[in-house]
């Protein structure tokens, strides 16, 4: 018998997927068990990956919301959530550069303003952003709608998605910031991150009153938010601004600002290694579960594989069936795990108020990891089939 006709016969009689498919479905309780086992290992990996995403996204979210093309900040500022402001006149210098359409200040504080929950009178540290109510520097539609009212002194807009103990949802009519009475004129939905429980937005005059600048004057600027005239070359304008401001001011694009923050979080915080290690453990456990499943399965069906060998099927074909079956098991675990993860992300995300989402990227990464762990264990277990001796059947 010639090789090509042999292969053709194999394809005709058994097809490519059908044998693996039938093997998978042959024993329903076993299928349930295996997809349960693999599925939970996958779910574990997905959760770790999802948490890692949430961790980074929570701290990047506010930077993404900044409504500008180029940003000025003090060069010594190593991350977004730290107070390291620069003088207003440096922003003025940038505004005069050709190609700049507008330059607005963002004032911010993370560690000095306490919000008193009017419901229970308790004080909590909050993150406060402030800007000229003439121009919102944050792309939050609900903010823009309330801007004119923010002009009045001692008014504020609060984050409904702040942690519940702050009492910002529903927004109270009034509260206190560092002991001064503040009228709450609206709310927006942003959410906390791993360090900030809630956010308050005030007008620049209110901010100056709460935290006066050096020598009691206007506060220094935390971040300069610059918009460019459309059609210009951003790199040229960025260079021109860099030349116009003192050397201790960093002139960054949004991508650079995001990169600085991402790098800080990745290098310095403990969260990265924790979640990577969690994912790794999930992968190893998943590999072991799927090895156990595939190995048992092959052991159970060794007579069948040996029979097929005796009938003339080649080892290559049998290995292929095993790999196909591993792929199908991987999918049988991955699909329910993804569905459960979506529900779980929603529940934990709402409870922890964190941006936990099943993204396309997360789905793909977890699918690759799942296929990887199932195929590796199939390769490890397949020796059983290769060594299947037709004579042993009898």
């Amino acid at each position: 018998m010639s090789a090509p006709s042999n292969l053709a016969r194999e394809r005709r009689s058994a097809g490519l997927v059908p044998l693996a498919w039938r093997n998978l479905l042959a024993n329903k309780p076993r299928l349930l068990r295996s997809s349960g086992g693999i599925g939970f290992a996958v779910l574990l990996m997905m959760m770790q990956l999802g948490f890692e995403n949430a961790f980074f996204n929570a701290s990047l979210e506010i930077i993404r919301l900044l409504d500008g093309d180029i940003f000025l900040q003090r060069g010594s500022k190593y991350r977004f959530a730290t107070k390291d402001p620069f003088p207003f006149r440096d922003l003025e210098a940038a505004r005069a550069v050709p190609g700049v359409a507008s330059a607005w200040p963002l004032y911010a504080d993370w560690h000095h303003l306490f919000w008193r929950n009017p419901a229970d009178g308790k004080d909590f540290l909050v993150r406060v952003f402030a800007f000229d109510p003439g121009q919102s520097v944050l792309s939050l539609p609900e903010l823009s709608a309330n801007l004119s009212a923010l002009r009045n002194l001692d008014t504020a807009i609060v984050d409904r998605r702040g942690r519940r103990f702050l009492g910002m949802d529903p927004p109270p009519p009034a509260a206190e910031l560092n002991g001064s009475k503040i009228k709450i004129i609206g709310s927006f939905a942003l959410g906390p991150d791993f360090e900030n429980d809630g956010t308050v937005v005030v007008g620049d005059r209110t901010f100056a009153r709460l935290l006066p600048g050096p020598r009691g004057g206007t506060p220094d600027v935390e971040l300069g938010v610059i918009k460019l005239i459309p059609g210009g070359d951003p790199t040229t304008v960025q260079q021109a601004i860099t030349a116009a401001v003192p050397t201790e001011i960093a002139v960054l694009t949004k991508a650079q600002l995001l990169e600085l923050e991402r790098k800080f979080q990745a290098d310095v915080s403990s969260a990265g290694p924790i979640f990577v290690m969690g994912t790794l453990v999930g992968f190893i456990v998943g590999m072991l579960i799927s090895y156990q499943i595939i190995y048992t399965d092959l052991a159970d069906q060794q007579p069948q594989y040996a029979t097929m060998k005796a009938m003339g099927y080649r080892t290559r074909y049998l290995v292929q069936v095993v790999l196909e079956q591993a792929t199908l098991s991987a999918l049988a675990g991955w699909v329910p795990a993804s569905l459960i993860a979506i529900v779980l992300f929603h529940i934990v995300g709402e409870m922890a108020l964190l941006p936990l989402h099943m993204t396309v990227q997360l789905a793909l990464v977890s699918l690759l990891l799942t296929l990887g762990m199932c195929l590796i264990s199939a390769v490890l277990a397949v020796r059983r089939v290769i060594s299947a001796d037709p004579a042993e059947v009898f």
Binding site: P29, R33, S34, G36, G37, F40, A41, L43, L44, M47, Q48, F51, A54, R74, G75, S76, K77, Y78, T82, D84, H111, D123, F124, L125, R163, F165, P192, F194, D197, E248, D267, V268, S270, P273, I274, M277, G278, V281, G282, I284, V285, L288, I289, Q292, I293, Y295, T296, L344, V348, M351, A352, L353, L354
Partner: protein
């Protein structure tokens, strides 16, 4: 009788049993690792308390957690010191400044702990010795866990904190926990020099050590009466409960690692169940034969439970050893105090037995299917 049968089944096919034990080992290791993360967070928050010697903590009524403790008058500590039960009452001042001598021109925030060098409050005698030489102006001690972005931490280096020049007088080993990326110790006098707007008469925390043999709860009660309701007094267990509650319920960290822990436990049950069900289905004809010769379901269930226990026990101890290694890696990577404790070992052991029980119950159903008649099918 059940046990000797279980033992024989397991030792009959050593390869399979080894595989099963390896699987269970990983399941237990998974629970250990997730638990380590879950507990690392509050422990990281407790670092300063864990490494100082005191019996009672005095704090403001606005106390939230260690890094956000509020302030109260120093006079309260002087009053506490005069009480007959009290051996030592040491003030702590906390502040945060810009370390303007970082790498790449960056200015990371440094957490500054101000203390009275007369009181040896640290568990590490090395730190206490260094405090004694603390009377030099503008000299600070740097925590050796301070991140590389602060630049070299060599003794004698002059650095700029909020515009003030201070000299690094040495380093100490305590850990930065969640206090910040870098931590320094200064004397109360230097603290006030660094933060001129801070009054030395307003302290952040007071550490109280009682005389030997004094009952802590009793002393706490009498000090509460003495100092009035302007301050809060925590005993050690109360403080631990408060900090743990803060980190696990007030921050999102508890929820994330808590759900990770739960899923890891479920995965563990799945693995043990998977392994056990496989073992049973392989032995099904034998179990059916036993039934046919008159052994009851109870005997067979007993055998399965003992098999589960044996597998789990064989997996537990190597898992514990591996977990110790992984904890060391996590400590290295995250600088969090992930440590193994007797209660943690006991908790995971209990969880492990739970896993064995849950999966034994789950796999009973296939045992009940063991039908003697099938043998002759």
């Amino acid at each position: 009788m059940s046990s000797s049968l279980a033992w024989r089944i397991l030792t009959h096919d050593k390869g399979r049993t080894a595989l099963a034990v390896a699987g269970v080992l990983l399941a237990i290791l998974l629970v250990f690792v997730q638990l380590g993360f879950f507990i690392a967070v509050p422990r990281g928050g407790m670092l300063l308390y864990d490494r100082t010697k005191f019996d009672l903590l005095v704090a403001s009524t606005a106390y939230e957690y260690q890094v956000q403790p509020g302030e109260f008058p120093l006079g309260q500590l002087d009053r506490a010191r005069a009480a007959p039960e009290v051996e030592l009452a040491a003030p702590l001042y906390f502040g945060s400044g810009k370390w303007r001598s970082g790498e790449d021109g960056k200015a990371p925030d440094v957490f500054v702990i101000g203390l009275d060098p007369r009181y040896p409050i640290f568990a590490s005698e090395d730190i206490n010795r260094q405090l004694a030489a603390f009377d030099q102006t503008d000299t600070v001690l740097v925590d050796s866990m301070t991140r590389p972005m602060f630049g070299p931490l060599t003794t004698g280096r002059v650095v700029d904190i909020d515009g003030d020049k201070v000299k690094i007088g040495g380093d100490y080993v305590l850990g930065t926990g969640f206090m910040g990326l870098g931590v320094i110790l200064v004397s109360a006098e230097n603290f006030v020099r660094l933060f001129p707007y801070r009054q030395p008469s307003q302290v952040n925390l007071g550490l109280i050590r009682l005389k030997p043999g004094i009952d802590r709860d009793g002393a706490a009660a009498s000090l509460r009466k003495l100092l009035g309701s302007d301050v809060r007094i925590f005993t050690r267990p109360e403080l631990e409960a408060h900090e743990t509650a803060y980190w696990t319920t007030r921050t999102s960290v508890g929820l994330l690692f808590g759900s990770g822990l739960i899923v890891s436990f479920i995965v563990g049950v799945m693995i043990v169940y998977q392994i056990l069900a496989t073992q049973i289905s392989r032995q099904l004809p034998q179990f059916a034969t036993l039934k046919a010769v008159g052994y009851g379901d109870r005997f067979l269930s007993g055998t399965v439970i003992i098999m589960a226990l044996l597998i789990v026990l064989a997996g537990f101890f190597p898992a514990l050893t591996a977990a110790l290694g992984i904890y060391a890696v996590i400590r290295e990577e995250t600088l969090l105090p992930v440590e193994m404790s007797a209660t943690r070992i006991a908790a995971v052991f209990a969880a492990t037995l739970g896993m064995a029980a849950a999966s034994a119950v789950l796999s009973m159903s296939s045992l009940r299917r063991a039908d003697p008649a099938d043998l002759f099918g």
